[in-house]
Amino acid sequence: MLWVTLTSANALTPSAPESLQVQAQQFTLANGMSLIVKPDRRAPTAVHMLWLRVGSMEEVDGTSGVAHVLEHMLFKGTPNVPGGEFSRRVAALGGRDNAFTSHDYTGYYQQIPSARLADVMQLEADRFAHNQWPDEEFKKELEVVKEERRMRTEDNPRALMYEALNATVFVASPYRRPIVGWMSDLEALKPEDARAFYQRWYVPANAAVVVAGDVDVAEVRRLAEKYYGSIPSRAVPERKPRVEPMQTGIKRMAFKAPAEQALVTLAYKVPSFQSFEGGPDEDDALALTVLAAVLDGYSGARLERALTQGPNRLADSAGADNGLWGRGPQLFTLSAVPAQGETAEEVEAALREQVARIAAEGVSEAELNRVKTQWVASEVYKLDSVFNQARELGTSWVQGQPLDANERVIERLRTVTAEQVKAVASKYFGDDQLTVARLLPQPLNKERKPRAAVAGARH
């Protein structure tokens, strides 16, 4: 245990080393809200998170970025807590707070001394139900979000290329839009857009409270009933399926940006892991994750060896990733940064060759065992971070998965055979489901005049 000696009655009592797996428990409040509690009593701290099953994928064209802007606006007040006061109160409790938005979800969290849990639950429930701010606050915060977009995306050529790649890979899926939003959509975003999104999606049955740390399950449940349970229930809006149509041929895109290094990314549409009761697609999704790990799961794995080593190396770096699961369609990506003097064509061919080799020859038992060993070890290491445990629980809930989804996926991954890995390597890497993006570096133009602000940008 972390807390070795005790000097005061206020601290937790010294407990024996706990079982590694104190299971998380899940409840549903009367208004439909979910509650997930995971005790971990190593230290007198807790993390409290509110997860919404709404992210940028619920947006529609013209208002991209509204989920993320709204996330910023949740800090701007309620009738009871003036704008800016939320973070000040959390700080006064000794806590830290922040929030995050992805394609699949929006989340808010506070890390606090566990004795302060009730205070942050009250604060979070208040803004979940009563977020309210003047238009002027929205206009200011929108400028902050535009600066965020400039920082993360516009001055980063690789981020720009991935933004363009997503917009090329996906046709109907909302994954085609950037989470932060297109700049012109941000320019045109109105306070009413954010308010409407809030009204529509921030309903109890579309939310889950996740609490992990030095807490008592029954007590957390009592607090959740008290603070969140009284929020009136409302129907969760219907979600349009927006199914990504079958891609039937290769897509290629070039992206020019000021840079020194090129970048090649191959994105293949692959099945996603939907359910533990699933069938062949689920098995394939798992096998694709093992394939990615065999290619790039440890120092000295296949891609590194084949592309970045030796006198004839083609790349400065190379990687593989399988999305596995999520609310939308998943991709298997191969990428590499060509070494100086090497062409994107050669690098693309080399990446494909590595998959083709596995399709032809399979993988060794040693490789298979190696990647499985790493996952098993990571399950132990992850217990060190209460925050990461809470984040995993929230992600599982968002995807409609059981609380022990990660443990169960690793159990399933351990059963994947070399034969399955070989099979998916030959099944999913044809050209028809492939999109290739190349970053074409352009010289920095030091003489060029700096970019003008977008017309009508501000005041």
């Binding site: 938005t101 120092s299 065992n369």
Partner: protein
Amino acid sequence: MNLMITFKKIIGQAVLIVATSLVGLHAATAAIAIEHWTQPSGAQVFLVQSHAIPMVDVQLDFDAGSRRDPAAQVGLASVTASMSGMGVRANPARGEPALDENALGEAWADLGANFGGHASSDRMSFALRSLTYPDLLAKAVPLAARQLAEPSFPADIWQRERETMSAAIKEANTRPATLAQRAFDQAVYGVHPYGYDTTEDSLKRIEVTHMAELYRQMLQPCRAKVSLVGALTRAQADALVAQLLAGLAGSQSSTAGDAHCQALPAVVEVAPLSQASEQRIAFDSAQAHVLLGQPGYKRNDPDFFALLVGNYILGGGGFVSRLTNEVREKRGLSYSVYSYFAPGLHAGAFTLGLQTRPDQADQALQVSRDVLARFVADGPTEAELQAAKDNLIGGFALRLDSNRKLLDNVANIAWNNLPLDYLDNWTQRVQNITVADIKAAFQRKLQPDRMVTVVLGGAGASAQ
């Protein structure tokens, strides 16, 4: 592709870590028991037993950071640390064959463990993370010991690494953040090693023989500070450390007269600035990068706590700092605005930074300068100080609530020669700080009229 996440505010600005990786202890809670002893080799060991999870984290720190890089071979410490993971020599005495980089990578993956080195300005550090299941740990520790003591520093691998590092440097040189930081560091540090910049040229002058020599001189058990947090008894930890260091020269014993343990030469101090400077650098980017600062203070400075608490109020405290309030919340000028000190063995920089649309850079700079000047002149208000104490003291436990965080704190105590009860007294030290302390400390350390200003982006102008 759905992994991209965007936050309301970047969590814990990486650059802030130096300034805030201190530890807190709630007045009314547990003390952390740090066991400390010195091995016959001279290695100093610091242990916190944490038995809830069957894992251990070990960190070894040596006084071999980049501040000791020869001026002609800037980057030597950093590349030596990373190259130490690129293969180990054969050890005929023990019948162990050489391992190349891939064999080493596979060996670590097979154990579900990892070990590697890196260098910061002050230290060269090596970190081991392993499960403590006896069969695994019994393999992980000797492997780490071999990597620590018998790196092969293969010349062909170094040639490749030099190429990929040079390519990465060229790429970084197209980014506004890199260029602004370099101009700032050079202006603040002058010729001091804290301002050294690894370049393609400096990498060209580094050979594997330099790495081996650096290793021989610096990596000795008598110079090691070893911090451990994990499921080990003291006896187990003692044996682990002895085994880890067994292959290094002088592992058997150390006596004061041994040449290998003589004091290392002093490194010059950072010189104070004599006047203000301002650089306006034209660059075609969506944002201008604004940096403002000067040399700060050394970690052993008696003003440490006043500056820690004061900077929380000025620009360190997340959403509630004065800078965030004035620049972001009131005016919407920036997503990120911050200030931090970087105290080390020398006076690391005080840095105030932000990014904003180029046409707003002057306004944001002016607001920041006003906030800074007023803070240095008047100090915080009583209310601000109380809010800072509420957060720092109330939230102390959040600085210690994982093995990883504990390890950072133990290594901090070990490296900076802080007392073993440092964590027990931390909140009291914060509690004792007054408005007058902060005002006086900031006035001693910061001179707003003699600072470096860098504005990169927008039309620019030549240096003034």
